[in-house]
Symmetry: D2
Subunit: 336 residues, 4 copies
């Protein structure tokens, strides 16, 4: 059901690192991410703003870039452990006929641009400048107190095939969703929690959401309250609720450009190799939500495209086998 | 806009006290209220179960009665301060041509049955047997830790007229909702918080919901989680969300018979006579929800009828002026 | 054991209202109460600052007055329901040979200055100017989010005698502490919670502490954290811990002038007349703390004197029968 | 100041795994860890009880063993990634003249017993049997909801020397405490958080405490409340408070045999190699506590000895340079 994992990958990706999003109004987006989400600004200039969570020491986990073509994702970033992992990665991608180019990125060490087989644009680096962690500076805290970037959810035309690619890179699986031998979704991780990259079927490549951790359940309400106060009452697109897979409390907010950000409280530790992935069957009622109101329809259909990357239809056209329709039907059934 | 309040009412109603609900399956309902809501059983027999919240010393705030005609409300109860207030109340209701009968009710002192002008069945008493407050016995806590019954929301054919009746009984107003000089909803209180009785337009008399306080924001999630665990994932009918009027975090659950119970965290203190009620205009976006997903449709249309009491259509038939349609339109607008 | 309560007092005191404290450095004290405690400023001038909690509509619950004689209490304030209650109160105190003088107090309606039999200086009024409740304006929240002034704890030379005085004024008892038929402490209330005025033995009259409610358990930690951040790490004098009587989570902070302020989460509802006060025996281990580290010694001995009022020794000189030594012994025993 | 870290250690220790403690009364200790701490029992027999936290999939993180010689630690356990890491570890320890013996341990895969240079008894394994994670089974939750074993704090006669040993094994440093070029304490980690092993000076080898994570701040209070309810009011030995290094909310409880268990909320993510350890100077006020009451004296002097292992005096006899006396002086100074 799940592709085999390579526990000794060629190079060592350690964790989800950062994401670069284009925005139509830099000032407005900066306010959303500082006042509602609770990030702090590490550096900024006229055209870009570098933000990090309250518990992050590395320079940025979110880069906002002013662009007439707002609402796109430029790249999602992962960290590698050593600088030499970058060189191995370069050879690895080139060797498979995939894009790999050295790049310059402010505040980062050597940086490598690659793409996965479906065109998802990725940035790898081993180091960043560091800043003070702000988690104890409560006198400066705002928003929902987002602590650190945790994971991305991306779309794939063929979930199994893309999972196989990342499994070869050493991504392991914590939980997955199936129906009739079809893989409808997979939680994949490199760091010792249950997620760095969630892969679900759909028009691809697209970034469905980025996710920041918040410390406690009540912070999820605080995020919603501040979204309302700062003029984004309709930004709450799904939740607050409790996930089935992973079991986290969550809420999804839509930023001013339509980028989706999940705030959730933290999940369990993985690490050990003997632990089997948790399997969820889409045919059972409580698949994706144990309780909770249905998400707005756009949660299932809208996602952030990658700048300049053409879209591919899913292998199986929108039909009852896709994750979205399964979940949706379940939610509607749950609500009677 | 609001009826004048009688600050020196003929008799002293002090607070929302209890409610008697009929249920089709006593065992199942008992489990819902103990395992999900978190009430404790004070006494029970084959046909009835008396429950109280963790912080309540009085014998019961919820009485479940087995009945083939499950899903009805028998009476909502208020407390008066002195026993002699009951005698005055008897004269008061009789004097206005309203039903008033002495009754026997287990575990209660002298008990008076009355009805308001629209037929809402009410029970008044001055004393109950007492039991130990359980709020510190954490080793026995279950469910969402419901602390105490706080208020009822009922329907009225004419909101203003029923508010006028309760204002004469000394109920004061904390917050209200209007549109174009029409009163669409009113929060009325006797005890020193902002609610004992919410009155909204609709087919009447019906009990829209009873509401228990929970201690903290995270307990609202616990209630939802346990609803899911104990087989009621679809009982979450609205929320979790944040109210506009009153400002409380809330969730509405549907019990096995369709009775609606709100869990919310506590609200502010009232008491002082110089404080003006807060006015909300249904025409402004954030009227009833500052953020949050729309409630399921049934939240707006379904409510608990009073056993054996005929229904009256609202003065204004379902039209854009009713509270429900206003709120609904707002929510839909908010969600785009 | 407890004095009889007058359930139909001559005039209607409704609740703890406000307190006027002298401070040596107004700017510094203002910062402590806004940045650490979380109050908001309603008005201020060169010599005084009027503050209220986030859930308070009335103009002030704390008045700080610059004074060379900082660290004193000028008056504790209670509210009466009607203006005419003030006239009755005037006659009541005068009739008993107790001080009663009409006074002017900014932002308040008619104001009456009285003293209880041991010289505790009290201010009564029926109305204040009102301001917007700030509890939902999360974007402006600071400190521990103190919601509203809840109660005072004062010292009495003879606890029973002073309880008798306040019982005659309609104060009822929720919980009390005894040993061998001696009343060592009493929780007295007028509003529908378990406290407006706690009375304990000691050098008198002195204000042991004023107490603000905070919404949730974690806010108590936030108050402590901000005390540390803003330069008052040693202001945490007792707790965080859990009270026996009343059962609240608490922490006591010392302000820059040595005034003691308790932050605690809210307590249970009282109101009904059939509920018996809870009795605690100082001889049983868990009397005052169910768990927790001993308070610093000064918590037991230091309190705020009333400006210009001479002190009276307790009837029973410091001996094993006093509350403080009982509690202290218990705590030491508890800690081995 | 800190020993150099070997980023490519000979074998891969991944995380703190488990601990084996001897207890005088197995039933009593089992109750403490289930009812107060909140662990669940994976397996048990007449003489031993295997427990895990609510978020743990591996069979046990705490093993209680009935013994007349209760109150001792048999071994602390770490996990390695692959089975072959055990073979390398065996050679590594043998090659340095340190104890290394293969052992049988129920519910674990191949198990290796080793000792560090000061005699700390350690157990290594690569796999365990697994059980269902219980973190979402709220209907079965008890105690403080301890989620997973996080770290140990041990004593060393010479902190620097022992840190050097563990640094060679790949343990990295997140935060450390110094005074005048002396290393007074070090937080060392293998997994991606800031702690697996804290090393402080003192009579050695001894286990100062084991630490479980709890989900939220309020759970710390719940742990204390249940300690009081179940008859351990004096088990609260230090806190609740906020750590300086690591910044966690914490409380230390003493179990029935005197073993010390810390409950704390979770800390920040480490992983990246460019992040510098945080340095704390014992000479500055807020070294170890930003606020909070002093710990009971025994927190500084009492710790769990390893079964059958002789004790070594610290290199520097108890003097002002030891961690404990530094912290203690700071705390006393902080409290005036």
């Amino acid at each position: 059901m799940l592709p085999a994992v390579n526990l000794r990958p060629a190079f060592n990706i350690t964790r989800t690192s950062h994401v670069i999003l284009t925005v139509a109004d830099l000032r407005k987006s900066r306010e959303f991410y500082t006042d509602v989400v609770g990030l702090v600004v590490s550096d900024e200039d006229e055209n870009s703003c570098y933000l990090r969570g309250l518990a992050e020491a590395c320079h940025h986990s979110l880069v906002l870039v002013q662009s007439q073509d707002g609402g796109k994702c430029r790249r999602i970033g992962f960290r590698v452990f050593f600088d030499e992992d970058l060189d191995i990665a370069y050879q690895y991608f080139r060797g498979r006929g995939l894009p790999a180019e050295w790049a310059e990125a402010p505040y980062q060490g050597r940086t490598l641009h690659v793409s996965d087989p479906i065109g998802t644009r990725i940035e790898l680096c081993a180091t960043m400048e560091t800043r003070q962690r702000m988690y104890l500076h409560k006198e400066k805290h705002k928003g929902a107190y987002a602590q650190r970037l945790d994971h991305f959810q991306i779309h794939a035309p063929d979930t199994y095939a893309l999972c196989a690619f990342y499994s070869e890179l050493g991504f392991r699986n914590s939980e997955y969703l199936t129906h009739e031998d079809k893989l409808l979704g997979a939680f994949m991780y490199r760091k010792g929690t249950c997620l760095d990259l969630a892969i679900v079927p759909g028009l691809a490549p697209r970034l469905h959401h980025l996710a920041y951790t918040v410390p406690e359940a009540h912070d999820i309400f605080t995020g919603c309250d501040l979204a309302g106060i700062y003029g984004y009452p309709s930004s709450v697109e799904r939740g607050p609720g409790r996930h089935g897979p992973g079991g986290m409390l969550f809420v999804y907010l839509i930023d001013p450009d339509g980028h989706r950000v999940e705030l959730f409280n933290s999940h369990y530790q993985t690490i050990d190799i003997e632990i089997e992935p948790v399997r969820w069957d889409a045919a059972t009622l409580s698949t994706n939500v144990r309780w909770g109101l249905p998400a707005l329809a756009r949660w299932y259909s809208v996602a952030t495209e990658f700048e300049g990357v053409p879209l591919t239809e899913p292998v199986e056209k929108p039909n009852p086998e896709t994750l979205e329709s399964y979940i949706r039907k379940r939610e509607e059934a749950a609500q009677g």
